[in-house]
Each structure stands twice: as C-alpha cells, then as structure tokens.
Symmetry: C2
Subunit: 338 residues, 2 copies
DNA sequence: CGCTGGCACTCACATACGAAGAGTGCCAGG
DNA sequence: CCTGGCACTCTTCGTATGTGAGTGCCAGCG
C-alpha cells in the first residue's frame, strides 16, 4: 500500500503533466506543490511509484509521466468529478434549448461537448430498442408501395420503403395502421415482435402477404445493427494531441470513422455514473493512447443511449467527467420535454 | 502564349509532383518523360513557366512545384477526366444498391467517395427547396400537439413538433391533412408557400389559429438555413497530407466542422459538370492549401444537391474528377429508383 | 527509520561545422 | 533554338561538442 504522501506525489505529477504536457521532475514538483519535503525525498517516492508501475520515464534522466495505471489510480482514488459552475450550466441549457428536432439536439450536443472539453465528442442517437413507440405511420405512395414511418418517445424518426407483393388498398392500409398502433403505441420496442406476430391473421388472404412484408420490414428496422446511429464532432481538437501526431492521430481518426468500434466503445460503459476507459483499457488498438469518458443519458430514469468524449490519456479527468455528466443530464431533460 | 512543349513540361511536372510529392528537377523530368530535349532546354522552359506563375521553387536550388495557377491550367487544358473502369463502376453500383434509406444512401456514398479518392468526402443531402413534395403527414400526439412529417421525392424525411394554440380534433386534422396534400403533393417545395397561404380560411374560426401554426412550422422547415444538411467522411485521409501537417491539417478539420463553410463551398459549383476549385480559389482561408472537386447530383435531369471531395492541391485531378462524376451519376440513379 | 543535502552520472537537445548533392542560371558553341 | 559545361547556391545530413535537467545513491542528521 502506498503512503498518503506518495499518493499526493502521484496526484501532483498527474496534474502537472496534464498542465504542461512535459515530463515532470522532482525539483519542479516541490516548487509548485508544497509537499513539505525536499526533492530528494520526492525522488525516493517517485522511484517507489515507478516500481509499482504508476509512473514511467520516457528516457533515462527525464522527468516522469503517469502510466495508464497511474491515471487509473488518479481517477479512482485521487480526484473527484469537477462540477460545472452555474454560468456554465446555464450556457449548456440555453444552447440545447434552441434545438428544433432530434437531429438538431444531437448536433448541438456534439458541438457543445467538443467545445466544453476541447476534445472529440461522440453522441449516440437514442436507441430504438430501449425506447417506446409513439406512433407508427403507413403512407401509400403507389398502389404496391408503402412508406413505413416509426416515431419514438424520444423524437427519433425512422423510415423505410416497403415494396408490397400485391396492391394494397387505402382501406386495408388504414385498417393495418389502426390495428398496429393500438397494439404497439406506448409499448417498448423490444416487445413489438411478440405484439404483432399474429397480426396477419386478422386480414383477408389477399392482403396477408403485404401485411407480413410490412411487419418484417418493421422488425428489421429494430435490429440492433441498423438502429444504432451516432454523430461525432470536434475532430479538430485532435491536433492538440501531441507533437508527434502523424502516428498518433491517424489511427484515432480511423477508429472514429468506424461506427461499429465507437458503438462498442460506448456500449462497454455499464456503470450508471460516468465511465472512464484509459489507454490500453480500450479494446481497439488505435485508441490505445486515448481515454474515453462516457455516460448514459435518457429522457426518464433509464438510459436510452450514451454520449462521451475521446481525448488523449493526458487529459483533465475531473473537468471532462464533470462536463460529460452535466451535458448528459441536460440532454435528458430536453428529450423528456419534447 | 506558351509553346506546346512548355505545356507538356508543365503537365509532366504536375504528374511527377503528384506522384512523388517532391519538387521535381529538370534532370528527373527528362529521364521519366521522353520530351526529346535535354535538361538544359527544360530548364529554360521551366524558367519561362516560373515567370508566368505556373510553377515555383520552395527554395533556391530545389526542384519546382506547381502553383495553384499551374494546377488550374493543368485541369483546364492539359488533362481530361479519367473515366472509371468497368469493374470500378460495377463495384460502385453494387455498394450503393444495398442502401435501405436515404441516410444509408448518403452514408454509403460518403464512404465510397472517401475510399475511391482516398480523400475527404462531402455529400449534401438532397435539398428540400429543389425537391418536390411526396407527402405531408400530420400526427396527433396529444390534444394540442401535432407532429408534422415531410417526405420528398428523394426519400428525405423531415419532422417537426408543433404546439397548437388550441386543442385540435382528429377530424379537423384529417381535413387539414387531406387539403394540404391535395394542394402540395407533387409540387416543388419552392411553390408551397403560395399554395397554402389561403388555407386557414377554409377552416372554422376555432381551428384557424392551429392551422396557421402548423403551416408556419411547415414553411420554417423549408427555410434554406435549416434545410441543408451534409455528411462527411474519410477524414483519416488527411493524415496523408504532407509531412508538416500539424499546421496544414488543423484549419482543414476546423473548416470541415463548419457546415456553413462546406455548404458554401459546394454551393459555389455552378457548372453542370465537375467543378474544381484549387487552393486560393477557395474563399475560406483554412482551405487555401486544398482543392475541392464537386458536382451536382439528382434523381432526374436536375441537380438536387452536391457532393464532392476535399484534398490537397497536389491531388490526382483526372482520377478524382472521374470518381466524383461516376459516384454522382450512380447516386442519382439510386435516388430515382427509390 | 525517514528525511536531507551533496555528488557523480546519464542522456536528450541544441548548436556549430563541414561535406555531399541536387538543382539552378548562364554562356558559348553547334 | 538547342545543348553541354560550369560555377554557384542552398538544403540536408552526419558528426562533434557543450549544456542542463533529472536521476540514483550515499552518508549524515533528527
């Protein structure tokens, strides 16, 4: 177990390194934080911290920098979440309130997060499977062509074209629309398959094929793979990464373009609170030198999606966590209102 | 006027520089292209080309690189558009055909363009103002709350929440829906304001306020500012920009995040064919070292939106132009089918 | 036992110098 | 108008050297 002072030394190292972006030495440490001991003592502590794997030196006779393990300890034990100031909270609220539709909410959230944290922001659209159905609309565009429109309680709208095997009359369509809505409106998307499975039986033989086609399109829309969308922003902040970044930035940009990777990344956050994954804790190789701070958000008590930021492992964790948490909270409010 | 050979020299310089990314000297030129003259002669030609402002040397006693003006001449007079090969065309078509909805079409187009050109791809959603109305749907979500859904012939869907000044009955809603659609279905969005202006008069006094509110929301949705959306991708390709790129890549990423800037950029392309804007021809400062290749696309004869790529001025213009043109053509086809 | 000051040691980094090489401009001759 | 030759200019790269930050270790002190 590390002594109290050694933990303080680690905290000081993390703070200084995050601020200066340069390896921090024993002398500088004692000057900037009054630890009450001499550089030599700090050196001993640093040697111990290095043995434990919390810090490392890039090369002999340079200062120390925190390792992923060091940041982990810092986040878990040494630092809290820095709450937003009142003016900041007001600004967040104001900015989000101007949104006209869900796309706009998400777009604004991304910009806000990127600006607040000066990092790359990732916001997942409210998940379909975790939402409830507000309305299902069917529009006849041609005799054998129907547009299916799905609307969730979070304001998300999905649409699909359906090519019917046989012409489908206006009255049959109205019938299907009514039956469908009476069964699924207000229900969770996950329950929809069971709720509609016997629906074709209620129709005339000639329409049954079309009804089945419409329903299967509906169910397809709910399949996990298609339904997860997200928006990213603030990639320009990647340029503040480090001096060496040709090699650093490339894999990150590539990872950010892979929606699948990002969704996994956000999905891993299980905790009800803010989740932090540091450096190599991220499964994806390209993100080994980044940290991901994420949290769920939702219109009610339950999370319907995730949002977060991606930044260098050398980041201001308390501040970032505070910003992410605050934004998630306000987005949830906005969604609940709409 | 430049002699034929000098133009050939310029063409050779552009091609070599695009290939090697390094300033090209007179000796290397004569070796790789059989111009039939000696390096000394080429040197004279190069001096002339430099006087005219088509090429420049980064520093004394280095090779020459093309200037923006040089690229312009190359694009206008010295190079054509390189058509895609048959397998490439098939691949494009196959890839786009798997799309399930408009978002998917746009997303796939972005990925395709980025991959084909190895540059940053930008695709604008089909414009509302240049499309026609397929259907307007009104859904009653609460007594005094209506959702407005707009569907275009290109498959684009916009929705807005409307808070009504007074409760609005199902029958009035159905009435409004029917009247609205009979007036605007199949018409161009730009004509909608005139077509609906007298609509409130057909309703009872108590509903008139609500009808006006719904209509004004509809018109707001059509306002230029809100209706232009776009998607970008392939930003990882920016890392192939140059060796110096901290300074190069930053402003480009920033510009790409400004939707307004990008829309202007694409909007400037007036030509029915492929438009190329080179380096300083781009109004936005951050894009002074990039070229933008763009083209309109549309479901019918007319362009409903633009797409293009952003890359270094040192790019393979004929190949890029070919890819952009081909993708635009196939996207148009896909949209026409849906 | 823990803290401290002192001291020798190690590298990264910056600066300077020199050689190499690529490329140019110019000129005289064909 | 083209060509070979030649002197000149700079960038680039490798080597050498000095400087300084930072370290590890040790002996002494409270």
């Amino acid at each position: 177990m590390l002594s109290e002072r050694r933990l303080q030394v680690l905290r000081a190292i993390v703070q200084d390194y995050v601020g200066t972006e340069e390896p921090v030495g024993s002398k500088a440490l004692t000057e900037r934080h009054n630890l009450g001991v001499s550089p030599a003592t700090v050196r001993n502590d640093m040697a111990a911290l290095e043995d434990e794997g919390y810090i490392a030196q890039p090369h002999t006779s340079a200062g120390r920098i925190p390792t992923d393990r060091g940041y982990r300890l810092f986040v878990d034990k040494l630092a809290g979440v820095k709450p937003m100031t009142a003016p900041e909270r007001r600004a967040i609220q104001n900015f989000l309130e101007g949104a006209v539709d869900l796309d706009d909410v998400v777009a604004r959230t991304v910009r806000l997060l990127a600006q607040l944290t000066r990092q790359v922001a990732v916001v997942q659209y409210p998940s379909l499977t975790r939402s409830t159905v507000r309305h299902v609309e069917l529009l006849s565009l041609a005799p054998a062509r129907v547009m299916l429109v799905l609307i969730t309680d979070t304001g998300r709208v999905e649409q699909r074209m359906v090519d019917c095997p046989a012409p489908f009359g206006e009255s049959s369509l109205a019938d299907l629309r009514a039956r469908l809505n009476s069964r699924v409106a207000g229900r969770r998307f996950t329950d929809v398959p069971k709720l509609v499975e016997d629906l074709p039986e209620a129709f005339e033989a000639e329409d049954r094929g079309t009804v089945s086609t419409v329903l299967s399109t509906l169910l397809e829309t709910l399949v996990e793979e298609n339904e997860e969308r997200l928006m990213i922003g603030g990639t320009a902040n990647l340029t503040r990464f480090g001096h060496d970044f040709p090699l650093t930035i490339r894999p990150v940009l590539e990872a950010l373009e892979e929606q699948v990777v990002l969704l996994k990344l956000l999905g891993e956050a299980k905790d009800p609170g803010v989740t932090v994954r540091i450096g190599h804790e991220n499964a994806h190789e390209g993100l080994n030198s980044t940290s991901v701070v994420s949290v769920g958000y939702g219109s009610g008590g339950e999370a319907v999606a995730k949002l977060g930021v991606v930044g260098p492992t050398r980041m201001d964790y308390p501040g970032t966590m505070g910003a992410v948490r605050a934004v998630a909270r306000y987005v949830g409010q906005i969604l609940a209102e709409s």
